[in-house]
Symmetry: D2
Subunit: 428 residues, 4 copies
């Protein structure tokens, strides 16, 4: 973890160009943010003669690694949609233009495919005019794709086009690809910076207190739980069942429950539940209150389902569909016990992830983009822009992808969810 602080010292000595930014202040290279905010933990490190883990602070540097007059930059967007991608693209382009005078910015279409010549995609010149209004649209103007391309050939393309910087907007798979490109570029002695902007609507990347698009996703998810509640109230023994995103981490489901406290059961991958427990609790709830709302994260309860043994192009194991499974089992159960049930099933995923960024995420994406540009210009590479304790940071990709961020079921978030739903321990 100590590398979180020191990984980029190599190039500091080569930062020879003065930054053209004026009047906005620069960040000292020693500025950092501690990982822990608990004194006992920090003391333990210090007592053992170790450095407590910490992140380098992001922000503009006084001296640059690249000559702004000669920089060309590329951007790729990979994986599924997430609110804010266009905002990040726009922010990178505008920051390069306004802060560094860099106008050679290219978007490679359809993710890493755009770097693989055999697809024949042509890079798009991203001008300030072209990106001016793109943040008002969801999706990504560059298009996206899943999966990797051959690293050598991607680096060939970057070298051939004289790229100094590659910004990779994507999830952990994408960031692993970015790291491979970085390694290959270093092996060839290319002066390249590879900067990751972590994109995960599930908010499951380590060392990021929140990721862009997450707040928007939760806002939109609430429309689904609110619909589920109206449907549940609208019929005798009405049940609204909502499946939300969250392959391995239930942050969207948990946060949505905190936003809309009319949810009665929240099922996430991190917290086991049994079908029997859920059905019993649901029976009781309907007997007492005539309606119920259930939120289930897509990765919850996978052990109840037969394994699919399939992967998508990104290499993610294909999950069984817990929403459809639960719908079936709940309906079957109530039929069996002869109790009327009116279940409505809602899967709003595509409507959530394709939304434009809300105001919070708009500002967040702007700063993500600015800090990605600052990091790149100062020669950082193999890193993502992180967010910790309300500050933007630099996090080595190797560290960020080591493990996924998950909800601690013994911690405060989950405890708040339990307090909000009152779902008790009956369903476990």
């Amino acid at each position: 973890m100590e590398q979180a602080r020191d990984f980029l010292i190599d190039r500091l000595g080569e930062c020879t160009y003065p930054s053209p930014m004026q009047g906005t202040g620069f960040i000292d290279d020693r500025a950092h943010i501690l990982l822990h905010s608990d004194l006992d933990t920090i003391r333990t490190y210090l007592d053992a003669g170790e450095e407590p883990p910490r992140f380098e602070a992001a922000g503009p540097r006084e001296r640059l690694y690249f000559n702004p007059a000669r920089v060309a930059c590329g951007i790729v967007t990979c994986g599924g949609l997430c609110p804010g991608i266009n905002n990040v693209i726009r922010s990178i382009v505008l920051s390069l233009h306004h802060h560094y005078g860099v106008d050679e910015v290219y978007g490679f279409p359809y993710g890493f495919e755009g770097l693989e010549p055999r697809y024949g995609h042509r890079p798009v010149h991203l001008t300030p005019e072209l990106v001016e209004h793109i943040h008002e649209m969801g999706g990504t103007i560059l298009g996206s794709s899943r999966g990797h391309q051959e690293v050598g050939r991607m680096v060939d393309t970057l070298a051939r086009l004289g790229m100094s910087v590659l910004f990779c907007i994507g999830g952990d798979g994408t960031q692993r690809g970015a790291l491979a490109i970085d390694a290959e570029a270093k092996r060839r002695g290319l002066k390249l910076s590879v900067i990751g902007i972590p994109k995960t609507i599930d908010n499951d990347i380590s060392f990021m207190q929140t990721t862009f698009g997450f707040e928007t996703a939760v806002s939109e998810a609430r429309l689904a739980t609110s619909a589920a509640h109206a449907e549940a109230l609208g019929a005798r023994n009405g049940v609204g069942l909502v499946k939300l995103m969250g392959r391995e981490s239930g942050f969207i489901a948990a946060s949505t429950v905190l936003v809309d406290n009319q949810v009665n059961f929240c099922l996430i991958p991190e917290a086991r539940f049994t079908l029997e427990g859920l059905l019993t609790a649901l029976e009781r709830r309907l007997a007492e209150r005539n309606h119920a709302v259930i939120v289930v994260a897509e990765g919850a309860g996978q052990e109840l389902l037969p394994a699919t043994n399939e992967c998508d192009a990104s290499g993610n194991v294909k999950l069984g569909d817990i929403g459809v499974f639960l719908r079936g089992r709940i309906c079957a159960h109530f039929k069996e016990i002869g109790m009327e049930l009116n279940l409505k099933y809602i899967d709003p995923s595509y409507m959530i992830r394709s939304r434009q960024a809300n105001p919070h995420d708009s500002a967040f994406c702007l700063l993500m983009g600015h800090n990605a540009v600052h990091a790149a210009m100062s020669g950082r590479t193999g890193m993502i822009v992180g967010y910790w304790n309300h500050e933007f940071t630099h996090v080595p990709i190797a560290l960020a992808v080591r493990e996924r961020k998950r909800i601690d079921t013994g911690g405060r978030v989950w405890s708040s969810v339990l307090a909000a739903t009152g779902q008790g321990t009956e369903i476990v």
Copy 2:
């Protein structure tokens, strides 16, 4: 059709109570709105010595059939959810209270079930305080159910509770039920008014230029087509496929296309299309533009599907799922021809119909409720509140349910849709 004008003359002579409304003016009993606005059609009637068809104008009457000091009213809400139901309930309660001083207003829970004693539902006393904020929520505070109950037993309940008026908020099935109640009450010589407030998210009730909730539904549906567009642009050969409501009439689909002109194909029940035509047009579109958005009304293309031979509790034939069918066929086709395809399927129905009314529908529902109350107090019965040429009207239920309103594929709405999508005749 002439009855549209004259159906309620019976009770006019019995309107002996002066209205307590003050300062807002009254509508003359002769006021009406012509069905046609084409001079040639009207002349044809006149030349034949016939009355051109017209509707009685809705609005407050100077003399009432019921004594406001002694009136008790009931409300039922039936069928699926639709934005604005709570607004109508609220408007009826507040109009009875403020305009007529009537405070005996009861909501019967879960539709016609609420009138059938064996369910044991208890009527809810609807006070101005209780309904004050209900319009800020979607759904129906009374709950709903599908299907009919035995007419005699429902009238027994109404008689036992001394109800003078029953407001029935529901679709054409509900209005037929309302008409049966009205007939039975007349047979028994009960002084009862049965007033229908037509609720159909599909906007398919005759003699209503628009129904409440429709504008809200279209607004929400646009979120789905907008998502579909972002998803379609976000991947190579991306296709966004959206299924919208519209069992027999494609008004939501058609209007959504006019709102969001990024839709390329609009499929509705009224306009035949062939699978081959659609697939060919889609191939061409993807080859030229790399993405496409398709909107399909749930009742479209039923002849392509095997018949379900099932009915729901309302007696509606259960439709085959055209959305899932098209998703399957499109994917299979492009696999067969070896062309990459990234199809995202969105079915937003429950999220649409459970929304609260938008401002337009809020005002519309307010006026629907007021006019329903005015009609009831003046003794009209067996009628629904209609809307024609920007005026509220009285329409006999028998006339309103005679046939469904559908899109004329030779008319201006559909022509505008074709002009907006440019889908041409290729898909027919």
Copy 3:
């Protein structure tokens, strides 16, 4: 009024070019919409041997006056902002392109100024790409200005640039200017069509049941009344006072009250009120309920204010500020009588008129634009696109500007407002 039907017969004989539109059907030149929907009125005309007044139906014609291969069109936007202007511009451009193959479309910047050479504004070539997303923004991409320019010089510009059509998006002043251009062009024997698209956020143009932007304006205005209500409730004897648009017609104020029924007093230009009456009623209301919400249209109560004797650039008399006046008088009065008062004054006008069109207005603007193009291509001129009985129509400008549409205080809209506020006759 008969001219409403017949004004364009002159050029029908010269419509020699077949329309390139396919598969969407054409409108017969005899199709029309009656002004009245009351049989007695129509009979009166017929009995007198007169034609009942009616409008020509809008829509695509089979034969065109202009050769689509040679047409060049201009667009100007004049007067204050209104939601939907960009939608109309976009719709015109896309309809010309997709329906008629016309790509020579130019926007003249800053209203009629753009046609006056001395300002040096350069016309903007409006391509489908340029307008693709403009409807997602409020305002007008062309810019606007108030007031007229010298007609001869404007026609010089149109002639010099070889314009066949001028689309004028603006209020009644603008349409008078359009008519003058049309007259001058006729005098010179130019083949020019001048088509008005009536823009008035006040919804006060005659023979239009609604104008574009109005629904959006009312939706936004509700945010202001809702804020006023929260503020009024939030303090002892809280009063929320909202000034809304409506120089001579109170449609926005009236409709907003129907949307948000928490308004207690609605003051419009058409309905006189006295300061004493208002203050007395307010005192009573606060004594009984501790809070009140007042909506006042900007043109209401002008007789209470000293005349400004000023005009704006459009020639409109500058109104006294009734909102600020009422705020002052109400505060002074309650101070005088020693009663606590917490008044919050809200003037949301600029925030309303600059919003992007809501879904309803998006569809409405699309159809306005299409019908404006169809009218132009078929040689109509000196007309605006109207809307009557849910149909688009052609209305001669001379007729449309003859008098302003106002709320009939003896009619149903105002009666509904009085019923919703319960403001009674006390304030008169």
Copy 4:
């Protein structure tokens, strides 16, 4: 500052009642969050043998100070409106009910007035049913007032009604009042807990990374800047001038600029600017780009205005109106230099602060309320619920009100704003 950690140790020994909460985990009384996240600062404290400053962690405790079976609680809401007040009230009521079985919860109307008998306000019994939907409305259902009441008489009321806990939702003036009540109660030996929930739309309370309602305010403020931008583009030399909240701290203005990057000048209380500088920069901007958007916080540039020498009921100095001042000076200046100017001035304050909480703030308020209840039940008093490093904390009121949180003009937030506007140093 050390007291931030230790202030409540007094009563720990008296926490003798087991918490009835089950299955959600408890927070250890030693849990804390460090103020600093910079290792060097922490080391400096440690090297000097001092405790680095830290906050006690909020959350449910295993043992309670009050017997839940005998607790009665009061709530007051003071000062101006802010999005989320009703959410906090609701969360407190529901947490007391569901987590501790406490049903004796009373709302005192109109702030501290509600505790002063001479006003005659009667406490409102806040039941779960009554608060169920209040979070869907802006404002405060309890009403509010500014200013203090006599402390002894307020404590008399609390003692007379047997209150164990008083929750004070309000700004720093309110919290000072809360502290005085706490001191007086201690002096009398009353077993009372006074818990503050800091409410400041300006986000200017120390030791809170963000306050409730702030995100909602920024979201709404963007509607104003977006309107200003549309207006500015809509006229030649258009200027949109928006006044936002921020008496002494410019957080709303600064964050709004990060959300809506179309703002060209951001003026806040913390950063001086000169009128000459602003006018010159504006001239240049209009000459180059024809339009500009200015955001000014209400407390900015006060030194340019004559002092008002007035205070409001809360004791806040009444600010001069910088928005109206700038409007006047800018218009005068451009008139003087003979340059056309179209300035539109927007002051959306009441529309912002009266909005209901957005999803982010809904969840935030829920947790604020829960943690306030947990703190109260465990006997904490004289504290506010804080938020630091994404964790809820306990902060002594004395510490929290010591100084206001302000934007560091040498720090990262302001630097980002300057980078986003590009306003440079010209205006200083």
